[in-house]
Amino acid sequence: MNQYVKMIVVLLVISCASGAVLALSYAVTNPKIQQQELQKLQESVLKVIPGATKMEEVQKDGITVYIGLDDQGNKKGIAFPASGSGFNGVIELMVGYNPTEGKLTGVEVLSMSETPGLGAKITEESFTGQFNGKSVKDQFIVKQDVQAISGATISSTAVTKAIKASLDEIVKLYPVGGDF
């Protein structure tokens, strides 16, 4: 009997101690983590909108977009998140779009888990750079108007489709030539 009581007590104490340690670590690190994530988001938004130095979060019809502003407060473009499933997992992107010209201004990969050396090349400038200046009227079809990474057609297609799908939604909210 005694042995069973000891078993329960020890397991209980260890579980409670570990729960307390976890709760404490979470409380200490959570504000820091939030801050890091916000900073990461801001960096990616400013990167895909040329000339932007500040960003503003806007909710429109349940879709979150980020408006990039320069020092004088002029609107330079909008950035929106896009995601799609790649070869190994979800690919998350930040896409810059200029509604006045109806063109993309940049693409950043936020997170992905594609094969290193193959699909992971989607993060490289040589791949993402080709979306700069692409018009919303373009087809966005891999191997036609989008250059695929050799040996990584699935990853290339996933990125292209994710951009196109989100872009179509955004264009409905912010039509080409319209106000933003």
Binding site: Q3, T29, K32, P116
Partner: protein
């Protein structure tokens, strides 16, 4: 003397990857580039050392019937704490190592050393063993990842070393390549060990 023996044990005689062949699911999955290999090795060594020390200190308190759940709780707690602190305070490091940290919980080396060693000896010997095992794991997966990175992409630690004329063997960085490279290395290790054992016997 005993401490040195415990330390060296994990590096060669009982190398977790090449000799005991445990913890290979992470070893096969992350060894696509040399940077990954080292990062995973360091993260594992840290968690292994911390949990071995704690389990060694608690060895007389934990009843044997509930030891496995106790070890799992200790290991999972350490891993999560490392994960949280790294995310909050070392974001650059987290970007490189982040995806490997949760994998440590399911790495059976940590549990195996807790069960087979740390729960039976004092904290000093447990530390020596954990550091040795961690280092053994690190050099083994780094070697695998260097070979796979060179064959699969022609570079090592991200630097191109083979010229443009080299056609990468893509299979090396895909999952089958991990099994092929590891199999060959385990075979080579066995060959070396057998040779040295034979010459020690005077053959």
């Amino acid at each position: 003397m005993q401490l040195i023996k415990d330390f060296v044990n994990g590096i060669w005689n009982e190398n977790p990857i090449f000799r005991i062949v445990i913890g290979i699911c992470s070893a096969l999955a992350v060894t696509t580039s040399a940077n990954n290999g080292i990062a995973m090795g360091m993260a594992l060594t840290f968690v292994l050392t911390c949990s071995s020390i704690l389990i060694s200190l608690l060895r007389n308190i934990i009843p044997s019937k509930v030891r496995i759940p106790c070890y799992v709780i200790v290991i999972a707690t350490f891993t999560t704490v490392v994960d949280l602190f790294m995310k909050g305070y070392f974001p650059a490091l987290y970007n490189v190592m982040g995806i490997f940290i949760p994998l440590i919980v399911v790495n059976c080396i940590v549990l195996a050393r807790a069960e087979a060693f740390a729960s039976k000896v004092g904290p000093l010997r447990a530390t020596a063993d954990a550091l040795g095992m961690g280092l053994g794991y690190t050099w083994a997966i780094t070697l695998i990842s260097i070979i796979r990175e060179i064959m699969g992409t022609g570079s090592v630690f991200g630097y191109k070393i083979l010229g443009a004329g080299f056609t990468p063997w893509v299979i090396a960085i895909l999952p089958p390549g991990a099994f092929i490279v590891m199999g060959i290395l385990v075979g080579l290790m066995n060959l070396i060990t057998r040779k040295t054992a034979n010459s020690a016997d005077g053959h």
